[in-house]
Symmetry: C2
Subunit: 142 residues, 2 copies
């Protein structure tokens, strides 16, 4: 039984995590100086958390230190109007534990951009939701 | 003279608008029930504003009505580790003026998903910034 709302299938949590695992670039939604902002990051999963690297002392490092953040990944194909998105919300923290840092880095991937992104940010999602585009002809029971 | 920070070239406002004009799917950063959220939307530019459609009464419609929101567009190529992102921040509003709605729709594009997305949201950016990945060999003076 699919849950469909406004042309979007609502995905279960397990499928959301599977899709999160397929992505490489995601977007972090934070607040900087009382204003909303979105920054793309190269991310990976490790355990039940999302990890990315950033520069020590950067706005992104500051804004994700102890804050509740949004994290979004999506993939769209314009040619056949298909695609999905996953949204995770949770507390972000800078990883200070050296042993954990090494384990996390070992499982991770380097950022696309050069630069000294030597701080590791962890997001522990407490809420995960996802949506996939379905067109009427795919959902015969609509 | 390029401004480069952590492997990212900081783009001028004119180039940011040019890149915004090339995209079709962007992401809106909003606050829903005191929590941050990011939702992908099919968008277009008209005049000096960003427009997208959403369902009347939806969370997205409510959260973008009179709020300051973030809007992000990016494009990355993993194979050669290149890409760019643009972030716009500004006040969002539901468009109520029928004449304006028709003009805006005429310049616009339909959402990728089916569904009754008959409300138009306008974001008037007051702040636009952009970044492009540059690797050391492209920036000989680094």
């Amino acid at each position: 039984m699919k849950l469909i709302e406004d042309g979007l299938e609502l995905l279960g949590e397990e499928e959301c995590w599977s899709l999160l695992a397929t992505g490489e670039v995601g977007r972090v939604g934070i607040t900087v100086g009382a204003l909303p902002a979105i920054f793309p990051v190269t991310y990976w999963l490790f355990g039940d958390a999302i990890f990315f690297r950033t520069s020590p002392g950067s706005k992104l490092a500051a804004a994700t230190s102890g804050a509740i953040v949004a994290f979004e990944v999506d993939d769209y194909q314009l040619d056949d109007r298909s695609g999905w998105s996953v949204l995770a919300i949770g507390r972000a923290d800078l990883v200070h534990d050296m042993v954990m840092s090494l384990a996390v880095l070992d499982a991770g991937r380097p950022p696309l951009a050069d630069g000294r992104r030597t701080s590791i940010v962890r997001i522990i999602p407490t809420f995960v939701s996802g949506r996939r585009i379905v067109h009427d002809h795919e959902a015969g029971y609509l």
